[in-house]
Amino acid sequence: MESYLEGMRLIAPELVLCGVTLVVLVWDMVRRGRDARELGGVTLAGLAATAWLLLGQWSALGETGAHAGTVLGMVTVDRFGTFFKLFTVGALAVVAFFVMVDRRERRRGIGEYYFLLLGAAIGIFFMVSTNNLLLLMLGLELLSLASYSLAGFHKGEKRSAEAALKYVVFGGLSAGVMLYGISLLFGLTGTIDLVEMGGARSGLLAAQLHASPIPVAVAMVLILAGFAYKVSVVPFHFWTPDVYEGAPTPVTTFLAVASKAAGFAVLLRFVGALFLVDGVEATIRAYGLGEVGVLLAVLSAVTMTLGNLAAIRQASLKRLLAYSSIAHAGYVLMGLAAMTAGGYSAAIFYLAAYYFMNLGAFGFLLYFEGVTGSETIDALKGQGWKHPLVSWTMVIFLISLTGLPPTVGFFGKFLLFREALDANLGWLVVVAALNSVVSLFYYFRVAKALFLATTDGEAKNRQPVLGGVLAALGACTVLFFLFNGALQDWSEQAPASLGISPPPGE
């Protein structure tokens, strides 16, 4: 009983989140038809409470690594998971705010919107804080189901329906593939717990690898394919532009930021637990599966290159940002490909940087959808002179996405480059560096439209509140470059709690 209560204390943030989700649902039913913005307020309040609990948990977990505790042997509470939960809460708060100010969204009866977003967040919470492949799969599916419905939220719109259908088909397929991979792993090792599977003591995977390497490799490839789909890594990226384009913009933001980061979180945990945890690495490398790093490096190079090249010719800003998010998945993979604690920290830092700049960029898109009613780059022509604050803020996001100083995106890229060079992946760094140049070209098509052209007419449809939030995100993008000590510490402590420590002497 004691341990049960203790467990409830550990998953208090999840419980609060579930509570808020139910409150939102009931509130919506009770006050049917009212302006749904007040539901947004409830959502934000719930998220604030969750964040507060998570922060308490973070500091209670202490700086040393190790698992703080498991709940019923399923949920693992550690700093790594808490980091991504905080990340999700932050992203979701901004997305909920976007829903509230979305001019193209109807005002009444959109309670399900918040309900589904919160449901997706619960899925993320469980998937990032477990070593149990079953719970991981359940969390992933909860996230996916909520996302499918969200993508098709504009039921009457053909594009939205198409997005939802595509998403379901691709998602279902990849979940099946992944589940098959997991079942193979279970069959080979007799456990669904990652720690037991890869752990230094039992070394089940290593033993299997020794006995029959091919089934292990097949299982790995199948599972990695599932993750690759979630974070839209080439060649599992085909759904991304269509779904991102068809979904309502706040949902796209959620998919591009929170959902993608969660996908990376489980990928990091999975690869880390099986290949990188102290003591395992040597065994695994001895059996020749250390080449996972090379595979990831190749995927990274291909993903960023294809994403960037495809983005060049997009006429719609939304599709452009979709392809850019594919390219960024490639950058983050650099950190994984390094297969070191430092690489993990760099990947996590880059995700944090990605958070600010992509929320900002999608917020900008939302703002101008409200102004011009269109999402093409052409529609932005000359708008920079009419909405200077938002537009110059967008320029900050653009240089951050390109990876130029003085922005947090530059620092993230700097860390990734450093870790990849340190892991002797010089060729990958050169590919990534040249990719930055390519990306500049299409990102600055937006700046070009905003400022290098002029239009007549008065500025219309200003949205001061949204503009203010964007400016704050822009300020963060710069400030977290100039003063990034805290963010760096966090990104370094998160992998430590997975049991991946930097080599001595660092």
């Binding site: 002179w385 320029v395 240089i399 390109t402 130029l404 100083p405 003085p406 530059f410 620092f411 700097f414 860390l415 480059f417 450093r418 060079l421 340190d422 002797n424 010089g426 060729w427 760094v429 050169v430 560096a433 040249l434 930055s436 140049v437 500049l440 070209f441 600055f444 700046a447 070009k448 400022f451 290098l452 990034n484 000590g485 760096q488 510490d489 370094e492």
Partner: protein, 516 residues
């Protein structure tokens, strides 16, 4: 306070100006111009004080050091200092930016943004010249690009969009490779400090066998080779050196006059400065070569000579006045590289001097083009003629500026080109004597296209279309006067630059050649 943080004040005063401008309503044009003048004028005053009052010209090392931790986790510091290599260029920057403000007074489009970006640009440029921490250096280096993109792209000529993004892409392509090299140096040595890296390279510990990055091979090249070329190409694109120069004519031609002045006058110098500050002395060479620089001196000299001759010939073929001036920059900056590659004190001094003198003379030439473009709204060299009759003052100043550029004895350009060529002639490797002879072709061609331009614009019959043109007004003369003054005074008394540079340059050359 002011004295202790003099370099920071010089660097960040324009940033304060930019912030002030953002708070001025955009209709208050006069106030915006005043703030810009004051916030570019004060750094000029401080830089002059720094040059004549504070800087100890007998010292070779870094002076006025300011050092503080910045990003601890990666060991990046706020580390600024100045020595004889950067001092003159800091002065030149503050002067040209101050001149650029009144030169911009006839711009009418979106003035508030224009002056704000101009001041941001100055921060970036000055930051590069004072930074002694490679991370800080890189940050300033990139900060420069953004305002430049908008200054060309918004206020430029008809093809401005193309020119702006081309400039941005070229420079970024160079600088991302630089970043890779910088990170590699940091991983190997554990420091971002430029003097620290130079010391490590000198002592032979940088990239030595067994150090962390000693076996980081890219494209089959050992680390010291690729690091050298990555850094070099990053700077060479900025200079620009053939074959990385094709962004230059587009950017220079499309940019508004004051921005062309800054581009030619200062931005090109950043490339040359970067090489001597942050490339040559940082990368150790292979085998018996102490530095990669020694190993590759001949290829560097060859691209220098090719730039000199090729740039001059292309300039000769231009009919667009501004394009001609732009290509003359390619030719003139070739001397800088030749002077560096010679690895002699005279050659290096000539190159440093040439950077400064080209900064003044090319700025004058672009201002000259701007004067006539403002009146005629075209730049076709064959479309003018006889302007000396209606614009005598303009004729006189133009001729003076062109003579300074073509290296007429008694004017500044002669001293620097002569020193460079003598220095190159003294180089250890006799092949440099051949290079010098080939470069002389460049001098002849340069004289040819500049004199031919004067002939086509000012002499001959006056085209009746132009008979009502007014001569240069006070503002235009005010912009050119200080630059022409420097062209003359440095032609007669070049020691006003050389004495300040000499100790640092001797140190640099003795480091590179290993002769004490």
């Amino acid at each position: 306070m002011l004295h202790d943080h003099l370099l920071s004040w010089i660097t960040f005063l324009p940033l304060i100006g930019m912030a002030l401008i953002l708070f001025v309503p955009k209709r208050e044009i006069a106030a915006i111009k005043l703030v810009s003048l004051v916030c570019t004028g004060l750094p000029l005053v401080l830089a002059t004080w720094l040059y004549f009052g504070v800087f100890d010209k007998t010292q070779a090392g870094l002076q006025l050091t300011e050092r503080a931790d910045w990003i601890r986790a990666i060991g990046a510091q706020y580390f600024v200092a100045v020595d004889g290599l950067s001092l003159a260029l800091i002065f030149l920057t503050t002067l040209l930016l101050f001149v650029a403000v009144p030169a911009s007074f006839n711009i009418t489009k979106a003035q508030k943004s224009y002056y704000a970006l101009l001041l941001l640009l100055e921060v970036g440029i000055l930051g590069v010249f004072v930074a002694q921490d490679y991370f800080l250096f890189y940050v300033f280096w990139e900060i420069m690009l953004l305002p430049m993109y908008f200054l060309i792209g918004i206020w430029g000529g008809p093809k401005r969009e193309y020119a702006a993004i081309k400039f941005f892409l070229y420079t970024l392509a160079g600088s991302v490779l630089m970043l890779v090299a910088i990170i590699c140096l940091r991983l190997d040595s554990g420091t971002f400090s430029i003097p620290g890296l130079a010391a490590a390279a000198k002592s032979g510990t940088l990239l030595a066998a067994g150090s962390p990055m000693a076996d980081a091979v890219i494209l089959g090249m050992p680390p010291n080779t690729w690091i050298f070329w990555f850094l070099f190409v990053g700077f060479a694109i900025k200079v620009p050196i053939v074959p990385f120069h094709t962004w230059l004519p587009d950017a220079h031609v499309e940019a508004p006059t004051p921005i062309s002045v800054i581009l030619a006058g200062i931005l090109l110098k950043l490339g040359g400065y970067g090489m001597i500050r942050a490339c040559f002395t940082l990368v150790p060479g292979q085998g018996e070569h102490a530095y990669a620089m020694n190993q590759f001196a001949i290829p560097l000299a060859i691209i220098g000579v090719v730039s000199i001759v090729y740039g001059a010939f292309v300039a000769l073929g231009q009919t667009d006045f501004k394009r001609m001036v732009a290509y003359s920059s390619v030719s003139h900056m070739g001397y800088v590289l030749l002077g560096f590659a010679a690895l002699t004190v005279l050659g290096m001094e000539g190159a440093a001097l040439q950077m400064f003198n080209h900064g003044t003379s090319s700025a004058v030439m672009f201002l000259v083009v701007g004067v006539i473009y403002d009146r005629a709204h075209h730049r076709d060299l064959n479309g003018f003629g006889g302007l000396s009759q209606v614009m005598p003052r303009y004729w006189a100043l133009t001729t003076l500026g062109f003579f300074a550029a073509l290296g007429l004895p008694g004017l500044a350009g002669f001293v620097s080109e002569a020193l460079t060529l003598i220095g190159a002639y003294q180089a250890q490797n006799p092949i440099f004597k051949v290079f010098v002879v080939i470069s002389l072709i460049g001098i002849v061609i340069t004289a040819a296209f500049l004199l031919w331009a004067i002939q086509r614009v000012f002499l001959g019959n006056l085209n009746p279309k132009y008979k009502d043109y007014t001569d240069m007004n006070a503002r235009e003369i005010f912009c050119q006067a200080p630059l022409l003054f420097l062209c003359v005074i440095l032609g007669i008394c070049p020691w006003f630059l050389i004495d300040w540079m000499n100790p640092s340059i001797r140190l640099l050359v003795s480091t590179l050649t290993g002769n004490a």
